[in-house]
């Protein structure tokens, strides 16, 4: 019996993984060989996907990228025995991209069968929730607080404080809401957790539920992630059958159940209050804060709303103790961050590491530079609302405060690389155009400002009163940044202003003029 692994991850499937699995089955049948194909999650290096692994005496041996048409020749060359071939990669975990990572949240991704509860338990799963039950709500909140975990969705608010606020609120019903509306381009960590290790998210939500006294959870997944929706729904069913969810979580007497809700293509619903409105069945309009969701959240009840990665970090923190997590990182950014290397980059994928790695190490060293082979021009960090960084700022360490100090943000840790073919005026215009399409319309700076921003950039592109219009653009960005209700209007100026500041020549302005204007 030969055991093979072919990822079911949406990216792997988009590259032909289903057809590869089918072709492997055909080749095995042709040889009357009995095989088992496990559809694992992706390990997260997409240049080698679809990755086929075969279990051998020396461990799992990887081949990649394997396209459906490669399969007959690979099998003929001895893939089922782990034999040599140009596409043989050896043990995947020994590849530098993986060997250099610190995988706490992604420890099981790509290793296990995502929908096997037994596999999950056999690979360290459920230790966190068992510990949580043992130590009780107050101590759980303390563990999470002491770990230094900050909201991984982008805002970086201490998760422990959020949980404490909800735990202390008195109410007949409280909720745990998982924000899985991962709309930022360049990010896919939430998707990979949900597709590749869904029980970890369920366990994290159950821990949060026990900690704050919430009995009901929702995971709000964007509709662009159909694979994640299916995986989470299947895992929730299995979780109920195996007692991780239900009237008595793992026999503890604490009740917690959860369900999946699907978004409908509105980027702004990744903003937490807009997401809550959407969950309630309303237009995704941003709410003014206060009241905070921790006091009045879903259906007006105290609600923990956390990103997928924040909740998925909880099982590790509980299982290993807060110090094990806190001891990674730098400054006030503790633990690890699953960084997503994307765009025009040779080694794109999921790179989980302690905070403190520099942007240059990520792009040049780990990422291997651009895939096109042309020089890097700009790197956008933190999604459509994140700043464009030039090579001159590649010494910036991955840390919430260090990025803020350079007028950027780490956001959800997406790193999108552009080569010298990028036109930064076009990128700035796109930021405004995207904001105009996705604005919920509630506040004026975002609703009107984004459209005016596009128009002004068009005038600049046409060379129409360039300096005057650049001044208007800067003023407009200032207004949007300070006057918008949420991060959509408030952060759209980041990509726009960073493009203008670091790449003035693309706006028809000599570099010196921008420096003077800035002074």
């Amino acid at each position: 019996m030969v055991k093979l692994y072919v990822p079911s991850d949406m990216a792997s499937v988009a590259l032909g993984a289903d057809e590869v699995a089918g072709a492997l089955a055909i080749e095995a049948a042709r040889r009357s060989l009995s095989i088992e194909i496990v559809r694992n999650g992706s390990r997260g290096l997409f240049s080698i996907e679809p990755l086929v692994e075969v279990e051998t005496a020396e461990g799992r041996i990887g081949y990649g990228p394997v396209y459906p048409e490669d399969v007959p020749a690979l099998v003929a060359a001895g893939l089922f025995d782990g034999a040599p071939h140009a596409k043989r990669l050896g043990r995947p975990e020994a590849l530098p991209f993986f060997a250099r990572q610190t995988r706490l949240t992604f420890a099981r991704n790509g290793i296990t069968d995502p929908l096997s509860f037994d596999d999950y338990a056999a690979h360290g799963g459920l230790k966190g929730v068992r510990k949580a039950i043992e130590i009780g709500p107050r101590a759980i909140v303390e563990e999470v607080f002491q770990s230094g975990l900050r909201g991984r969705g982008g805002a970086g608010f201490p998760t422990g404080i959020k949980w404490k606020t909800v735990a202390e609120a008195a109410a007949d019903q409280k909720y745990i809401v998982c924000n899985a509306d991962e709309g930022d381009s360049g990010t896919f960590a939430d998707r990979m957790v949900m597709e590749g290790d869904p029980f970890q998210l369920i366990e994290g939500m159950a821990i949060a539920g026990i900690a704050v006294g919430a009995t009901k959870g929702f995971v709000y997944i964007r509709s662009e992630y159909p694979f994640a929706v299916r995986a989470m729904e299947a895992a929730i069913r299995a979780g109920r059958e195996r007692g991780l969810l239900g009237q008595s979580v793992m026999g503890s007497g604490h009740a917690f159940d959860m369900e999946v809700r699907v978004g409908a293509g509105a980027y702004v619903c990744g903003e937490e209050t807009s997401l809550l409105e959407s969950l309630e069945g309303k237009r995704g309009l941003v709410r003014a804060k206060p009241p905070l969701p921790a006091h009045k959240g879903l259906f007006g009840k105290p609600t923990v709303i956390n990103n997928v990665l924040s909740l998925a970090a909880a099982p590790y923190i509980l299982a290993e103790g807060f110090a094990a997590y806190r001891d990674y990182g730098m400054g006030r950014s503790r633990g690890t961050m699953p960084i997503q290397l994307a765009g025009n980059i040779r080694n794109g994928g999921l790179f989980e590491t302690a905070f403190g790695v520099t942007l240059g190490e990520l792009v040049d060293d780990i990422g291997g530079g651009t895939e096109s082979g042309r020089p890097v021009k700009a790197v956008q960090v933190g999604g459509p609302l994140g700043a464009y960084f030039p090579r001159a700022l590649f010494d910036t360490p991955f840390d919430y405060e260090a990025f803020a100090a350079r007028d950027g943000l780490i956001g959800h840790a997406g790193v999108v690389v552009f080569d010298e073919g990028a036109d930064m005026l076009k990128q700035a215009r796109f930021a405004m155009a995207f904001c105009a399409v996705e604005s919920c319309g509630k506040c004026t700076p975002c609703r009107i400002g984004s459209t005016r921003g596009m128009e002004v950039i068009d005038k600049i592109a046409a060379g129409q009163e360039r300096e005057a219009n650049l001044a208007v653009l800067e003023d407009l960005c200032h207004t949007m940044k300070l006057g918008s209700l949420c991060a959509l209007g408030g952060f759209t100026p980041y990509p726009v202003m960073s493009a203008l500041t670091h790449f003035p020549e693309d706006f028809g302005r000599p570099p010196e003029a921008t420096l003077e204007a800035a002074q």
Partner: protein
């Protein structure tokens, strides 16, 4: 292509009733109708409003806020090309231009179909950001697309 049922108020009422007791039922109901019929026609709004004790304006407001809900029957084939930054960095603009030419249509957020019943629509991120340009063709994901690969996929699709 997706197999949609023709609009039927009776079937719609059934689908609505099946989810009406959920907390925040409106979004799940709109998804159910959109999936069953390929769109949510205007006639659906009063049916939903009645079942959920909402005003028609409330339902209309939600229906028109979200990009996913179609208000006219879905095209036979839907090609959604990612237009977001990570795909831009990997050549989505050139691929989009090629697709527009190949399909004889322009990329259209409102989903108007060409003469062969294919619509070309933008999508903002499928989370396949290290292997773009990416697309969803009749719901199936594709990555590392080139003009040649796109043409081959369209030949299989239409």
């Amino acid at each position: 292509m997706a197999d949609y049922a023709p609009w039927s108020p009776e079937k719609a009422v059934e689908l609505i009733a099946a989810k009406a007791d959920m907390d925040g039922a409106l979004m799940p109901i709109l998804h159910a109708l959109n999936q069953a019929f390929g769109h949510v026609p205007d006639e659906a709004a009063p049916l939903i409003a009645g079942a959920l004790n909402l005003s028609r304006a409330d339902v209309h407001g939600v229906l028109t806020f979200y990009h996913d809900f179609r208000r006219r029957p879905a095209p036979h084939h839907v090609v959604k090309l990612c237009q977001a930054e990570a795909c831009q960095a990997r050549g989505s603009a050139a691929l989009t231009a090629h697709a527009e030419q190949a399909l004889g249509t322009s990329i259209d957020p409102h989903g108007h179909a060409n003469a062969r019943g294919v619509s070309l629509e933008p999508i903002y991120c499928l989370g396949l950001c290290a292997s773009g340009p990416s697309a969803l063709i009749d719901g199936r994901p594709h990555a590392r697309l080139t003009a040649e690969r796109f043409d081959a996929l369209m030949a299989e699709t239409v």
